[in-house]
């Protein structure tokens, strides 16, 4: 019987002819990413041997630069680990700093057809590269670094056929919020994105969808490979790779069409991303205290350019904080060169250094009790970005930028003609 992308990669990497839903398989890992939380004293266990330093990447992203002594200590532990095993792909605070999932894109770490793990839930981000990328637990990542393998449960696959092109000021975030709003969680299932509409989406836009698939609780999220993708990866990573196509007779639990042309800007209400989307019009006028643009889902150059286009020549409403966090130094440098950073700063944005920052409630824009934030980040659980009584609405960077200017939730289509 035919297999989906996820099933084919699971089969290839576990040395089996076929893998079907329900199977538990042990898989060889191509890339293993450790990040600063792994080195926190509560989580870290001193590793005595690693499978292969060439397969390991170390990133500091959740708390950079260190906001307190515990984080600073974790960074020191991480640096010692890097030194001890001679890890070459190391992203410390500095020139190559960034959020791990953005670095995967910047440096082409997720090769088509390969398997990548990191103990961050949004690791499914790397699925945009036709790669089987999954967030695992902290102990899993230590096990993976030692053994070079881990287990996966294979779930059923839901396929989304994207069709048409997005209207102006409507983004991949809105496409995702449409899917999450209508179809709810996809726990224990894989998500596969394809269709004729993919060609019109940038890699950054596609990456928003795979990254956000963590909110669907999907096991794996993958995109099919195309020329745009091959070029992206080739220009960043010299290693050879083998893209994987789903079989023509692959068995899906469901195939659902998403007509991009018909979409409008959406907003997820506080506390949940799934089953919680509303058209922006329904929330227009809701007062905000903070607007946040960043994260591994929407801190790319595309996102900063879009936000800059919305705020160009305008001022952030008084009493509102617009915090913009480029997802990596590469993104930051590119947005400096293009002028997007200057435009955002002129409007009144505070630019934070590349970090997870307030997306995970860590630092750089944490919310006080009762405050309201609209964010382009990934998650809006109660207390995610600060006090449990704060409210976090989620939308595209365009909608967040428009809201920052108005001081209330606003429709970006009125800003981008």
């Amino acid at each position: 019987m035919g297999m989906t992308i996820a099933e084919k990669i699971l089969a290839a990497k576990s040395g089996r002819k076929a893998v079907a839903p329900g199977d538990v398989v042990t898989v060889q890992l191509d890339t293993i990413i450790l990040f600063d939380n792994n080195f926190m004293p509560n989580n870290w266990r001193e590793i005595q041997r690693v499978c292969d330093p060439e397969r390991i990447v170390v990133v500091f992203d959740h708390r950079v630069p260190a906001p307190n002594q515990i984080a600073a200590g974790a960074h020191r532990t991480g640096r010692e680990f890097v030194r001890r095993f001679g890890i070459k792909r190391f992203h410390d605070v500095g020139r190559e700093q960034g959020i791990s999932h953005q670095l995967v894109a910047d440096y082409g770490y997720a090769l088509p057809g390969s398997v990548l793990v990191c103990s961050d839930s949004h690791t499914c981000s790397g699925g945009v590269f036709n790669c089987l990328a999954r967030g695992v637990g902290g102990p899993d990542i230590i096990y993976s670094a030692v053994k070079g393998e881990t287990w996966f449960r294979c779930g059923e696959t839901i396929r989304y056929e994207l069709e048409g092109a997005l209207p102006k000021a409507v983004t991949a975030k809105d496409a995702f919020l449409q899917i999450a709003g209508v179809h709810g969680d996809h726990a224990t299932q894989n998500v596969e994105y394809g269709g004729s509409g993919v060609a019109g989406l940038s890699i950054n836009a596609r990456k928003t969808m795979t990254t956000m698939s963590a909110e669907l609780s999907a096991e794996f999220a993958t995109f099919e490979c195309d020329d745009t993708l091959v070029q992206w990866v080739r220009s960043r990573n010299p290693r050879a790779f083998n893209p994987v196509k789903p079989d023509a007779d692959a068995k899906y639990k469901a195939v659902r069409k998403v007509n991009l042309v018909a979409l409008e800007p959406l907003v997820a209400l506080p506390d949940s991303v799934v089953n919680n989307s509303q058209p922006v019009g329904a929330l227009k006028g809701t007062r905000i205290d903070q607007a946040y643009i960043g994260s591994c889902a929407n801190g790319t150059q595309d996102d900063l350019e879009l936000a800059a286009a919305v705020v160009r020549g305008k001022r952030v409403a008084s009493g509102v904080r617009l915090i913009v966090v480029p997802a990596s130094q590469t993104v930051y440098r590119d947005a400096m060169k293009s002028g997007a950073i200057a435009t955002l700063m002129e409007a009144g944005a505070t630019i934070a250094p590349p970090t997870c920052g307030a997306c995970g409630g860590g630092h750089m824009g944490v919310l006080a009790a009762e405050e309201t934030c609209i964010t382009s980040s990934t998650r809006n659980f109660k207390g995610r970005m600060g006090e449990p009584s704060s409210r976090v609405f989620m939308a595209s960077p365009a909608t967040v930028a428009a809201s920052a200017i108005m001081g209330t939730i606003a429709d970006p289509r009125e800003f981008l003609q």
Binding site: N68, S121, G137, W151, E219, S272, G361, G383, R384
Partner: protein, 173 residues
């Protein structure tokens, strides 16, 4: 691996941030347990007795990779049973040897305070109070082996792949 105890119930879509909020990140493991469900059920953690059983709702443990399963275990809970469990939480449950069973219909079969009997190996969940029984999904053999070994760390420690645990107060912070 059999447990018989009183049942606590929580609703659908319980996320990891409710179990282990960011505010508890820098605390000791001992301190972290008092933060379980602080936002949605203040005061609950103090009422849990050692060996109690948690019945979750749909997509139990959705959210991040943080070791939320470890907090539930450290709180003294024997296991969690839910209709279906988030894949990442499930991994961490295996990692920390905290039995997590998927059992369709379990959320409707129990009221809080009922007595449950959970047989992890046989994958059976019985409501002793109501006299009903449900079939759960068995834990796959390789995962059961990790749980039986006490989780990933003891397993790696035993073969010398990671250093033994340091247990000074400062190290646990």
């Amino acid at each position: 691996m059999k447990f018989k105890a009183r049942v606590w119930k929580v609703g659908d879509n319980i996320n990891t941030d409710l179990i282990l909020p960011i505010t508890a990140f820098y605390l000791t493991l001992e301190e972290q347990i008092s933060y379980v469900f602080k936002a949605n059920r203040p005061g609950w953690a103090e009422q849990v007795q050692k060996g109690d059983i948690l019945i979750g709702g749909k997509n139990f443990g959705m959210g991040s990779s943080r070791p939320a399963a470890r907090s539930l275990k450290n709180l003294g809970l024997a296991c969690v049973v839910a209709p279906y469990i988030n894949g990442l939480f499930f991994r961490n449950a295996v990692n920390f040897a905290f039995p997590a069973l998927e059992c369709p219909g379990v959320d409707e079969a129990f009221d809080e305070g009922d007595i449950a009997e959970v047989d992890v190996i046989a994958a059976r969940v019985r409501n002793v109070t109501k006299g009903t029984e449900l079939a759960a999904k068995p834990l796959p053999a390789p995962l059961l082996a990790i749980v039986n070994a006490g989780g990933i760390y003891p397993l790696l420690e035993k073969e010398g792949s990671i250093a033994p645990k340091v247990t000074t107060a400062a190290a646990s912070r």
